[in-house]
Subunit: 203 residues, 2 copies
Amino acid sequence: MKREEAKTTTRASATLWDRTRQLASQEILETALRLFTEQGYDETTIAQIAREAGVSQRTLFRYFGSKEDLLGGDQDRFGRVLAGAISEQPAETGVWDALHAGIAAVLSLHDNSEQALQRFRLLHNTASLRAGWLEKRLRLQEELLPLVEARMDAAAGAADARARAVIATAFACLDAASMTWVANDGQSNIMDLYDECLAAVRG
Amino acid sequence: MKREEAKTTTRASATLWDRTRQLASQEILETALRLFTEQGYDETTIAQIAREAGVSQRTLFRYFGSKEDLLGGDQDRFGRVLAGAISEQPAETGVWDALHAGIAAVLSLHDNSEQALQRFRLLHNTASLRAGWLEKRLRLQEELLPLVEARMDAAAGAADARARAVIATAFACLDAASMTWVANDGQSNIMDLYDECLAAVRG
DNA sequence: CGACCTCTGGCAGTCGCTGCCAGGTTGGCG
DNA sequence: CGCCAACCTGGCAGCGACTGCCAGAGGTCG
C-alpha cells in the first residue's frame, strides 16, 4: 500500500522485488499443484511443497495464506468477474438471464485448459477442500445479494431470503453441472448442463 | 458390535458402562455448548472444554471425533430422518412434495427449543463451522440422490445432474429460510419461509 | 475371587498456522 | 560510492486440533 502510489500500473513490474516475487509465487504454485495431483491433497504436507519449491514454510505462508489458497486462490477473481458480468447486464434483464450471463463469463475464463479439469477433480474428491471452497462461495453469494435483489420484484416481505434462494439455486445447478462434467472427463459442455439442471429445477 | 447381541434394546442400559458413557457425553456436550455461546467457537479450545467437563482431551476426542462434531453431531440423525420421511411418501408424490415432507419432518425434531436458535446462530456466524457443516450436508445430498432420482421422470440424459440440482435447490431454500429465521430471532416460521423461497425460485 | 474386557488419562508426535527476530538484498539518497 | 531505510527471507518457538501408543484404573462375569 506504499509503493503503489508510484507508477506500478505497468505490468512490467519495474522493481526487482516484484519480479522475484512473481517468480517465487509461480514456482510454489506449480510445485503444489503437481504434488497434489500426484499424491493427493491431504497426503501432501506444506513442508514438502516448501522443500521442493525451494522456499521456507514461512515464506510459503506469506505468499499463500493457507493450504487451501494454493488451489482456491483464484476464487476471488472469479467472484469479481461474476459480479462484473451481472452488473453489466441491462437493467431490464431478468434475474436468471443475468445469472446465466455471469456464469458464462466465469466459465469462459478457463474452460479449454486441461488444468481446470484437474483442479475440479481434486476439489470434488477431497472433502477438506470442498469444505473451504463452499465456505468461500457462501461469502461470494452474500456479496452478490444486492446485485440480484435489485433485479427481483420486491413483492413479498422476505426479499432477502428470496434473493438468497435464487443465488444459491444458481450455484447449486452450477455444482451439479460441473460435477457431471468432471464425471464425464470434460466431454460435455458445462453451460448446457447448467441450463438442463436449471430447467429441471424450475420445471 | 459385541455387546449389542445381548438385550441392550432396552433404553435403561443395563451395564454401568453405558450409563457413565452417556453421562460423560452429556456433560461434555453441555459444557461445550455453554462455552461456545459464551465466548465463541474459535475462541474456545478443546483443552478448556475438557478441563471444565472434567475429562481428558483424549477422552473428549473418543466421544466426539472432532471439535465440529460437538455441534454438528446430530446431523447424521437429521439425515436419517430426512431420508426416512422421503421414502415413506407414496410413490405418486412428486419430488418437491416429498422433499417438503422430509424437511418438515426434520424441522419438527427441534423447532420449539431455544437451543436450536443458539446452534443456528453459532453456525451462521462462524466461518470454520459453516465449512464443515456444508461439507457434511453435501455428503447427505449424495445419499439422497437415489431417493430423489426415483421420483423424477428419467427423460433427458443427465438424470444424475438434474436430481442433484433439485436436492441442492431444496437445501438452498432451506438455508435461505433458516438464515432469515435466525435474523428474525426465530419469530417467523421456517417452513413458510422455505415455501416462499421455493416459490421465488420456481416462479 | 480372579481372569477378562473396557474405558481412561497422559505422553509424544504430526500438521497447519502465526509471531517474533535476526539476518541478507535492494532501492533511493546525498 | 556509501549509507540508511525499506523490504524480504528463513528459522525458531509456540499454539491448537488431532492421533497412536501404552500403562493403569475400573467394571463384568464365570
